[in-house]
């Protein structure tokens, strides 16, 4: 199964950022050193994940890499990490976006060691979420990644930060606690049936449940993931959290944290409760489609750039969930690819908004405009990522979107037809965003503006290259997915 020696690569992915975080907190010399330390750590993690991609990027059936150790034997809880094509892509995305995030956070002046440490702990938690296949371990990382985010929002955020942070935390926690209850109930049911109490995903997936039980437990899991994703009636925490959070927080939140909801759906909720899930597909699709349009509509009406991006991300995730609800390999692959590329493009847009904010001091569309004349480099990048975000062919989001639509059309033509106008909506609000910031007259009283600095180019160039490359050649994303998606759908009834 593995060409590598039994080196704990997966634990390394989790441990490396954690060690970096500790070093950041313990070193007392300077903020500058701390930044370099954080950058080195994230680059090291990125190197490890790249190495895994090189080794396992060709995909394959089953787990590509697995680590297992006893943890709490009394409850059958194990420390089990496993990597397949889906988690591989998300691990890559996490490592890459965190290297970018450290660069974005470079100008931060307040409490740098703590800031960097939290960022690294967040990375560690995310890695854990994408790798854990023991339910309690997953839950542990799921909550551990919340806390640094709450602090990032609550300490470095904007005026309404404390409220936004607590609200974000409580919302997501409500979901997670429902999931915890469902987990324990499933564990007990499984134990009563088989006599062996275990929290391992593979074991629990074999539990025989009545349909009612499945519905209830699936509901618990779905609540957690729908709040995190967020699906529309559960989304109200998200625009506030995003607009109050610092630039890095917003990047991390949309780029990665929201993806954990979808990932949890794919990895846990659907395989554990296939019957209930399939019965709920129309509901899921309805929520997804509703979200797609509702969020696009909200985005069109917003004036705050960050909130526009927040709603746009809800809208995009609607499409991702629609792909999952279509329940076939093409759509699933499209959903996962879209998830990854959306992380890149939205991450880039949030980074750009931060740069814009730094230069103009505002996030309001009404006070922006005429940027192209002042800062052409920044504007060109903004345009590129906005176009990528609305799904222009040849840029990163296009392959994912088209696969989702094709896949959906094959099983549920009506849903696909309904989703199509959503893409037009996306074009509408994104063009409005571009128009409001880049073109038109510059507001009176704005002084000269510097174009991109070296650091900012370093952030944007890798993102731009990836965006173009993955748009033209999405195969590196699709290859590792083929095996696990087929396997997942094959195992489900």
């Amino acid at each position: 199964m593995t060409a590598l020696p039994q080196f704990p690569w997966l634990s390394l992915l989790i441990g490396l950022p954690l060690a970096g975080a500790l070093l950041c907190l313990l070193q007392r010399r300077s903020d500058g050193e701390c930044r370099w330390l954080a950058l080195t750590t994230t680059l090291g993690t990125l190197a490890v994940s790249l190495w895994l991609f090189v080794a396992f990027g060709s995909g394959g059936e089953g787990w590509l890499l697995r680590e297992d150790a006893a943890w709490i034997p009394r409850f059958g809880i194990r420390y089990t990490l496993a990597l397949d094509g889906i988690s591989l892509l998300l691990v890559m995305l996490t490592a890459f976006l965190h290297a970018i995030a450290v660069l974005v956070a470079w100008p931060e002046q307040r409490r740098v060691p703590l800031f960097m440490a939290l960022l690294l702990v967040l990375e560690s938690g995310l890695m854990g979420v994408f790798l854990a296949v023991d339910l309690v371990l997953f839950y542990l990382f799921w909550e551990v990644m919340l806390l640094p985010m709450v602090f990032l929002i609550g300490i470095w955020g904007e005026a309404g930060r404390r409220r936004a942070a607590i609200r974000f935390f409580l919302y997501t926690l409500a979901g997670s606690l429902a999931m915890l209850l469902a987990m324990i109930a499933l564990y007990l049911l499984h134990g009563e049936q088989t006599g062996s109490y275990s929290f391992a995903l593979a074991e629990l997936a074999r539990t025989q449940l009545t349909l009612t039980q499945e519905y209830l437990l699936f509901g618990g899991f779905l609540l957690a993931f729908a709040i995190k994703a967020p699906l529309v009636p559960f989304h109200t925490w998200q625009p506030e959290a995003l607009s109050e959070s610092p630039a890095v927080g917003a990047l991390d939140l949309t780029g990665l944290l929201l993806k954990t909801g979808i990932y949890g759906l794919i990895r846990f909720a659907l395989p554990l409760f296939p019957h209930a899930a399939q019965a709920c597909l129309p509901l899921l699709a309805a929520l997804a489609l509703g979200g797609l349009f509702y969020a696009a509509w909200c985005a069109y009406g917003e004036d705050d750039v960050k909130r526009i991006l927040a709603y746009s991300s809800i809208s995009h995730l609607g499409l991702v969930v629609l792909g999952l609800a279509a329940w076939n390999a093409t759509a699933w692959q499209g959903s996962i690819v879209l998830m990854v590329t959306h992380g890149l493009t939205t991450g880039a847009l949030f980074a750009l908004v931060a740069m814009l904010r730094q230069r103009t001091g505002t996030r309001s569309l009404a006070e922006l405009g005429g940027l192209w004349g002042a800062a052409p480099g920044l504007s060109a990048c903004f345009l590129l990522f906005a176009l990528a975000s609305l799904g222009l062919p040849g840029l990163a989001n296009f392959p994912g979107e088209i696969l989702v639509l094709l896949g959906t059309f094959r099983t549920q033509p009506l849903w696909a037809l309904l989703a199509l106008p959503g893409l037009v909506f996306a074009a509408a609000y994104l063009l409005r965003l571009v128009q409001g910031t880049l073109w038109g007259p510059a507001p009176a009283g704005r002084g000269a503006m510097a174009d991109l600095t070296l650091r900012e180019w370093l952030i944007l160039i890798p993102l731009a290259l990836l965006t173009i490359w993955l748009g033209l050649h999405p195969a590196p994303l699709l290859t590792p997915l083929a095996g696990p998606v087929q396997a997942a759908l094959g195992a489900l009834p």
Binding site: F75, L140, E143, L147, F169, L170, L181, I184
Partner: protein, 471 residues
Amino acid sequence: MTWFDLIALAPVLILVFGATTLLMVGAWHHQSAPLVVGGIAVALAAAIAAGIAPPGPPEIAGMFSCTPYARFFTALWALGTALVLMLSLRYAGERDFAAGEYVSLVLFSAAGMALLSGSTSLIGLFLSLESFTLALYILVSFHRNNDPGAEAGLKYLVLGAVATGFMAFGIALIYAASGTFHLPEALYGLQTGGQLRPWALLGWGLVLVALGFKISLVPFHLWTPDVYQGAPAPVTALLATGSKGAVGAVLVLVLARAPGAWHDLVPLLWLLALATMLVGSLCALPQDNLKRLLAYSSVVHMGYLLIALLPGSADGYSAVVFYLTIYAVASLGAFGVITSLSTGQGEPQLLSRWQGLGYRYPWRGAVLTLCLLSLAGMPLTGGFIGKFVLFHAAIKGGFTGLALVGIVASLVSFAYYLRVVLVLYSSDEPAPALHPGTALEHAVLLVCASAVLLLGIYPAPLLDLTAALIP
């Protein structure tokens, strides 16, 4: 009582004789530090004795047991008392406490808690409970020049005396109905039925009221915030950990030895748990005083305990013991931080005084954060494992509804604990200067913090131990 019995009671005797000796010495030597250090040594000796002593006879004088269960709690309360005394060293010195009395009272109360955790008869229960409550009445108002302290002491005394009355009357009724003080038999009176059964039920209800007062179940919780606020911080720590913990421990002991007997009281306990969690949570939310907040949160924690007690299963009892341990460690850490930040002028209680303290005193800020997160039940801290075993036991026992309430209560608890943490790290204003803390205090905090983390990351040994302890 034989020599053998006395040797079996050695850990408690060390506490009692140590306390008496220090009281005597304190009459002639007024220097505070040596007395407190002596008290620490006595408590540690008792903890070690409890740790290494072989199991004693199952029952001594028909009142107390020396089972591994009782030994575990004796060691725990003795250790906790040692930590409390370490925290008191500077605190008591700065306030000119009469050290002899203070130390001996703390040790006496530890002895009472240790005995209570192993009581096997209603008389033993009554005596040990009253002995440590009596010590606490005095300790709560030990700071004579402090008005809130005096008020707290009076409130605790009056309400406590009422609870004692309930207890005595309840025990009398139980005796009348069952003809025995001895615990399993006194409970079996409930099972067998007969004409006197209503009286026995009433008696047990009254005893429950008294115990509910001590662990502040709603509606018997009204003293809690005032007493927590007014008592000296180390005493609050003792009150929050030992006094509540010991009552929790004896509840397990009573229930575990008479499985099924409790059945008729389940609806009552169910309601108590519900009210306790809801009212505690709602009252904790708006608090601006950290000690009052911790008081209400302790109310909620006792509600959680009831969730695991109700199923009456071995799982539930071991969950309670595990949770009590975690809870004791985390509360001790939280009150330890308050104590070590206190200056001779007073304790930082209002949240406004905690603004940005996490930056000014990073170590203690981190410990408080850790302890609060553990109380809230954050993964990677012991509190999460504690909640996990509680909810596991409740769902397994069929109390899913209560588990749901518990989930909601923990959700709310995150709101108030997290608020404190965010205040701790808010950078709006420069933090006020408080006491830098002594090395000993930092060491105590280190012990609490590492225990909280260790139990969160590697709980397996303690889980196995608590499961093995249940009689």
